[in-house]
């Protein structure tokens, strides 16, 4: 097969393309849209952050050791937990314990399953695969976790009467909160379901586009995309379910009493 190499971009090419941003800044000033500052800062942040990430990856690829890879994955997990914490306004009890354990277990299990059992990475820590794939799994699970935690907390508050009515009739805490947990789980899964259903028609997913651009045979890229989407949906489901089960327990005492908040 003919070897295709990707066209590298020179830094001067980047300078040229940043010209688009500068043009927008000019336009914004001229039309008094008032977004010049935000545009400049965002564009500058993007450049700095991505170049730093690129150098870091470059370094890790060269090191050929599992430790830095594991460190990166843990850092990604910690950022995901912080993001969930910043997005969720109504907190469930024991928020950090529950969200941390759920993200690490949910994403960990699905990443292991996907990289070791489905792809069969060799060596197991190959950063070229492990880092971007785990990133996608964590990123999506983070969104699912936020939705599940937020929905659980708000519904447990709003539907207090319903839950206590069921408790008074002899329902266990699990039964009394069943509808709440179910609707929160549904909310967490909606983005994954929508994006799977729209894929290939409404948009070409980023990973697949990237693989095709870097010379991968389209059918291989498609297979990877299908596989990662299944892993993402699985991880979103496992992570949110762990949050919901632990979260529901945190709202009740052992004697099936709704705790006072």
């Amino acid at each position: 097969m003919e070897e295709k190499t990707i066209i590298d971009l020179a830094y001067s090419d980047l300078a040229v393309v940043y010209g688009v941003i500068l043009f927008l800044v000019g336009l914004s000033r001229w039309q008094q849209i008032g977004q010049e500052r935000a545009l400049l800062i965002a564009a500058a942040r993007m450049g700095v952050q991505l170049l730093a990430a690129g150098y870091l990856l470059h370094l890790i690829f060269a090191l050929q050791s599992p430790w830095p890879v594991m460190l990166i994955l843990v850092v990604m997990g910690v950022f995901a937990i912080q993001t969930v914490a910043s997005r969720v306004k109504t907190r469930i009890p024991r928020f950090y314990t529950i969200v941390t354990s759920s993200i690490f277990i949910g994403c960990g299990v699905m990443t292991f399953f996907f990289c070791q059992i489905v792809i069969g990475l060799e060596p197991w820590y190959d950063p070229r695969y492990l880092i971007p794939l785990t990133g996608m799994i964590i990123g999506n699970s983070m969104t699912g976790a936020s939705l599940a935690a937020e929905r659980l907390a708000s519904e447990m508050k709003e539907r207090r009467d319903e839950i206590e009515t069921a408790l008074c009739l002899g329902a266990s805490s699990r039964m009394a909160a069943f509808d709440v947990v179910r609707s929160a789980f549904r909310a967490a899964l909606i983005p994954s379901i929508n994006s799977m259903a729209a894929m290939g028609i409404v948009f070409l997913p980023g990973m697949m586009t990237g693989q095709i651009l870097s010379g991968t045979e389209p059918m291989i890229a498609v297979k990877y995309q299908i596989a990662i989407m299944c892993a993402i949906t699985g991880s979103v489901a496992v992570t949110s379910l762990l949050i919901l089960i632990q979260g529901r327990r945190a709202y009740f005492t052992g004697a099936h009493q709704l705790i006072d908040r």
Partner: protein, 252 residues
Amino acid sequence: MMEVLRAEGIFKSRTDSRKGLTKEILKGIDLSLGKGELWALIGPSGGGKTTLIRLFNRLEEPSAGRILFHGQDIRDGNPLELRRRVMLIQQKAFMFSGTVLDNLQRSFVLGGEAPPPADDRRIRRAVDLCCLPANLIGEEARALSAGQQQRVHLARGLLCRPEILILDEGTSALDRPTAEELISNFRNLCREEGLTILMVSHDLPLMERAADKGLYLEGGKILEQGAAPDFFRKPESPQMIRFMAEMPARGE
């Protein structure tokens, strides 16, 4: 008289997590309810009535003291079983989605029984006792009037076959004749089947006619208790005298 429920030295404090203040709501409650008695629990709002009755079916735990049901500390038993035997009808008549029948069937399902049909003897009886028109049974529960929902709420509780029925303002949304009829039905349940009822209500004339005994709770303490009609007519504590004078006589 056979005692069914007994409270000994009940204290309950609650902490406001935002302000960090702990407030004592119940300050040493002792009471004893006998089988087949109908009790009225009266007193001003904020006096601790709702907090007290939530302890009887273990929706909450007291901070100190103990509650005995048939002589056994309720903390030693299964709370789910207790809640079906000591039925608390909360003030808010929450309707589950679905029809009136769906709501009534839930009492059976939560007790581990198959849901009976609409013409089941037990369902017809509960509907009659609660003065619900039988033709409402197929209606969407949330579309009913407040008074009708309140009666579905009561019937749902009765269907769990409790030994003690605790009503928190259980007739507040009913018109005078319906409230009278319903309470008279409930009184018969006390007489004929030995059901014990504890009613929290602000409807003093109704309570005076229906109750065997009364408890006056204010500031977290039971200031007066005794048998009707003297309990209602000859209060001794200055607090209860003031309360009775200020309450507008409803109905009549």
